[in-house]
Symmetry: C2
Subunit: 154 residues, 2 copies
Amino acid sequence: MSTEEPVPLYYDDLVLGDEHVAGTYTVTREAIIDFASEWDPQPFHIDEAAAQASFFGGLTACSAHIFSIFCITSQRWESGVVQMAVAGLGFDEMRMLRPVYAGDTLSCFTIVHALRESGSRPDCGIVTYRSELRNQRGEAVFSILATSMMARRQ
Amino acid sequence: MSTEEPVPLYYDDLVLGDEHVAGTYTVTREAIIDFASEWDPQPFHIDEAAAQASFFGGLTACSAHIFSIFCITSQRWESGVVQMAVAGLGFDEMRMLRPVYAGDTLSCFTIVHALRESGSRPDCGIVTYRSELRNQRGEAVFSILATSMMARRQ
């Protein structure tokens, strides 16, 4: 583990079109059941037998769990920078492309999709990332456009 | 608490434009910190002092937490029906309209926004709901379009 001070990433540091490798997350059977028991207790997320008999043929992570995995992995860029986020504004085109099963390892990839200055806050800029979670076979399981406000360099 | 068997709600039971009152959820300070510590550990979600000094002036729930609250409350219609959901397909126009603070009570309201038959699965239909979370002052804090596959009556 690095003891160096993390490098802050400001709006001004982003380059349109750049792709970044972000974090990785392995989804366990227990985590799928725990998360869904609290937030989306459908039989195919919490009951092994019901899941086997369902459309998916096995336990699958619920949408809120997958979105949460996106939230944590998308912050963890391989470069180790810390994004100077001020506020999440919105999300578009969130797609559940394939089921996420117990044991899957998801990796987040993100592209700087759009950049614009903030009308209301000159000390901030607005970034939209196009991001994807891919499983251990490289298949995209989730995609999203995420828009947030980021601090500018003083 | 009712001991009656819950009534299943199928795709065929939905009426375009109908509005439904769904569930309610109170967000505690501890829940905000616990959720964000795992999924979105930004200072303004997990550190009271940093949150006070931030744009928001107090601890606010992270996006993944608010989306999870939407997922659980949107299933709990006041009428007590159980939706025969088969799979979540996608979400659009998810907007964080106002911050969600500790102590806020959020209520979910949902409108049947679009209905279409499934091309691939004649036993299913595809519904899009336009939903909103409102706080105890009736202010919209979150809105979304949620599309899922639902079973049809046999």
